[in-house]
Symmetry: C2
Subunit: 304 residues, 2 copies
């Protein structure tokens, strides 16, 4: 099952060095989920060949402009592209008012419905669920109410061993039940145990998005054991004071969160415009958490 993250923008508040503000596409099994939508995200989708038609869910972490200024343009372009499919936006409540005010004054009548689902920056909430995946918010520590997002794959069914179907002449209609753990009873009454018929499924994978936030040990609990962790790393450790003042994180702190959460892999993002070369941030993080990588725009990272 495809589960990956494509970075559209990974810069901080001021766009610089050809890096764009925050936005990314989580692709789960061909379904696209956008997380944050800074200015120009629609251009980045074009540049990186992300399909518009697969995107029905957009998640906005908070209302600093570098995380949502591209949304109104994207919604307008959807309309001009004759979109008719419902779109779901998960966001802090005031964003609905902002979007509606823009459309009121441009006399825009959308061809598609937008369903706003308001997020809360206290506690955790399940905001999306289908048969394969659930998505949850958790609070981050920033100057505005801000949520992180946790994408959790559901436990897959057991895998049936193809040769066993033939061996025991298992009828098609029983396969689903066996995948769910049932044994198979032969016409003779003899029981073939599930363990003989199936193998264990791969463990469910998860991805967490944490931006923007101060360094917070609370975060570790929310993202514990994720396979892939995107964590902001606005500053190098030498600017730890500036990071604290602005409710941002250093690359060392991001690595500490990843290490303590026992994450599989760390993606660093939301870089300050002061850094043209980002390699030192990666190196600093790798010194604590070796499997750290820069969220390079246009790159796709597997959740494994």
């Amino acid at each position: 099952m495809q589960f990956d993250v494509t970075i559209l923008g990974s810069n901080g508040a001021v766009a610089a060095h050809n890096r764009y503000p925050s936005s990314q596409i989580v692709n789960y099994n061909g379904r696209h989920f956008m997380v944050d939508c800074g200015e120009g995200s629609q251009f980045r989708m074009n540049t990186f060949g992300v399909k518009w038609s697969k995107l029905d869910h957009i998640f906005i972490s908070h209302l600093h402009g570098d995380h949502y200024y591209g949304l109104i343009g994207l919604l307008t372009t959807f309309n001009l592209h004759w979109r008719e499919t419902e779109l779901n936006i998960y966001c802090p409540p005031p964003l609905e008012e902002i979007i509606k005010l823009n459309f009121k004054h441009s006399k825009t009548e959308l061809r598609y419905q937008i369903k706003f689902r308001h997020t809360r920056a206290e506690g955790t909430e399940t905001i999306y669920e289908d048969e394969l995946l659930s998505i949850h918010t958790f609070p981050l520590l920033h100057r505005l109410p801000t949520t992180g997002f946790l994408f959790k794959e559901k436990q897959h069914h057991r895998k049936i061993i193809p040769s066993k179907i033939e061996e025991y002449q298992i009828p098609y209609e029983l396969i689903k039940k066996i995948k769910r753990g049932e044994d198979f009873v032969l016409p003779t009454g003899h029981i073939i145990s599930n363990a003989e018929l199936t193998t264990a499924p791969s463990p469910p994978r998860s991805y967490a998005y944490c931006s923007d936030t101060s360094f917070s040990i609370e975060t570790v609990n929310y993202v514990s054991g994720v396979n892939l962790l995107y964590h902001e790393a606005t500053f190098m450790e030498e600017h730890a004071v500036r990071a604290a003042e602005t409710y941002h994180t250093t690359s060392v702190q991001a690595a500490q969160v990843a290490e303590q959460a026992k994450a599989g892999q760390l993606l660093l993002g939301h870089f300050s415009a002061r850094y043209d070369n980002l390699e030192p941030l990666a190196k600093e993080s790798q010194s604590i958490f070796p499997n750290s990588h820069l969220a390079v725009e246009g790159k796709t990272f597997q959740v494994v």
Copy 2:
């Protein structure tokens, strides 16, 4: 005196083919005036090396998103760049409400003042004036209240002939008066006529911006005799019906406006996303008005 126009974006509503939505910088004598501010305009300023510090006046023609969605991001970036100089925004009244709502919810306290000057899409109005230049609105024919903008250089003073200053020993304090047309009286009482002392100044130049608009013969009156005319040409003539339906113009119609207005030069812009290659639009326009050019992004056009 420098008087030119740099194109930041010249595409229509849907960004495509690496072309950005409407925005341009009119540079008069080192002062930058931005006309329209589609999404990504701040990135285009970076790409084309347009100086942020010279920009104190922004003009928004109307409230379709491709003409203003980049403004909120630009204002935010100004703030993050520690701007303190007052900024003037000339726009339809609701834009003030939209901007203020965004800043309210992001708890943004700007370090600089914004002075909103509301435009009206009826009649003409002088909205800016300094010692060298005046800027005027005029109505366009679109689905929303829309104004064009006319930049008019003021008549320069006559030029004094340097050798005459020495010949007649003209005192420094009289030069200003002579430039304004006064004669010079010699100590003997003999009058030296202004015509002998000065040459005529260059005729004042003008630039007009017309986007978005239906083809309208009224426009001809407002832009009569301009040196440079930017006129939208969203469609080829074969799509004249679509142009009329959507209150846009074809390249042939844009050429007709330029021809009838006796403009010096025509810049075509606001291209539909359906055209990858724009040369046919230029050719169509040139068949009626030979001095027609495509508003290529990043290019600077002189007002001469």
